[in-house]
Subunit: 294 residues, 2 copies
Amino acid sequence: MSPTDPPFNSIAIVGLGLIGGSIALAVRERWPASRLAGVDTPSVLAHAMGSAAIDRAFESVAALPAVDLIVLAAPVNQNIELLKQLASNRPDKVVITDVGGTKRAIVDAARGLPLSATFVGGHPLSGAERGGFGFARPDLFAGRPWIFTPAGAPPPGAGDSRDDAVARLSQFVTGLGATPTTMDADQHDRLMAFVSHLPQLTASALMEVVGRATPPGGIRMGGRGLADTTRLASSPASVWRDICATNADAIGDALDLMIACLTEMRDNLHRGDTIDTIFDEAAKWRAELMKGRE
Amino acid sequence: MSPTDPPFNSIAIVGLGLIGGSIALAVRERWPASRLAGVDTPSVLAHAMGSAAIDRAFESVAALPAVDLIVLAAPVNQNIELLKQLASNRPDKVVITDVGGTKRAIVDAARGLPLSATFVGGHPLSGAERGGFGFARPDLFAGRPWIFTPAGAPPPGAGDSRDDAVARLSQFVTGLGATPTTMDADQHDRLMAFVSHLPQLTASALMEVVGRATPPGGIRMGGRGLADTTRLASSPASVWRDICATNADAIGDALDLMIACLTEMRDNLHRGDTIDTIFDEAAKWRAELMKGRE
């Protein structure tokens, strides 16, 4: 395989939402000769075929032809169910990855399955305001990290094929504009509980509280601050209910710390020093977060 | 006074931060012949004089010459102190307004002062990521509401002058691009507790918790979601300690509802229906908030 060859010639993407749809569009740009199969509902498939994001459409993974790579891009628990179906139906040597926001649950599930395929958990750190194929775009992954979680004891004899799969997947996501990196599934889930899951739950809770408590029309008095802080509140519940369920321990810890910080503010609104300390710390972390981005 | 005449020919702005500095720059654009005096520390005054935002610089309100309008643009409690100084030192018939984020405290303070001037509380709903004259810009108020809170029994004989002051102030902020509106100080403070103060405290708490809990470098794995949700976390503590102290009851209620919502999520992370309900409600309010903005 030369460096310019595509790491996978035929790819199936299961779930053509924001992430799955964007992978299809990015593959089309990078490797126009690749064969792309999509699995989703008939209306989404029609949309994806109509915009030439895929060239073959299927309503179930059981109907898929042989491919080099299967990307599971449905919500986390659906991906786990799909993996079980693939384990019982596909004896061929395919590489399977997923793009779910939590990694322990699917990595653990894969370990317990009689997979002849090689599974490597993955997570592109790319989000957008709204989900669905209609918001997919080929540059969604540009400049963003793409985490793989291959750690843990491989099944007997699978070591070499897994290392090879990680190398090919890394080449694949590099071609999509992302920067591949690896970490343990545990480490991934704990980190994401803070840098991704807590911000999402906070934004949704804030929007819910503000909407419910303000008189009709009052919400429109909110400025850019409210708009930015609640941007994530359009995220689809279908994705997040699975993330919450499969990372409940780490998210619970993050929510406890958030609730404790808000309670400290609440009990010290008249004490300027408490507000000063939290604001000064927050401004320092904000500067660290934005380093090199602005 | 014709509609094209400036409502105020000479203006003093006390506090040349983001808001005060932006008022100066916007006045310069709209009414270039107006005389603009600024009150601040020597370094800020030098910056403002250097960029021609003001044409006269003073280090205290006691030194100010006679003007038509005084805009108090320091943090809330400093504005109250400045108003007390003005009550004892300035017998002239000037209009005084402020731009603080809470209105009950200063409106109550003004009511108790032997002011010969006419005071009308004000609040432009314009914010930006960072405070300070360096971030001031003339279009900060374009298309944004500017709330005045003239309600309550006027001092004896002050009724006419106050109505006239509200009319002139409304013309003034319209000239700066804003849309003037009036409401009770109580109503203002309760509404702002939800659409402005709670989002600010939430963003700062989130940034503080995420920064403290993630390993070194981990915060950089945060995506656009974390960046947007914490944008307000650069806000200056000096402004917010006074807002918290002067709106503690309403902010306390807002924080209680936020803490309750996060606690409900925390206790039901495995229950998809709880997450679904909060996310679906939040997405509905988010759509309402963004109506006509995108």
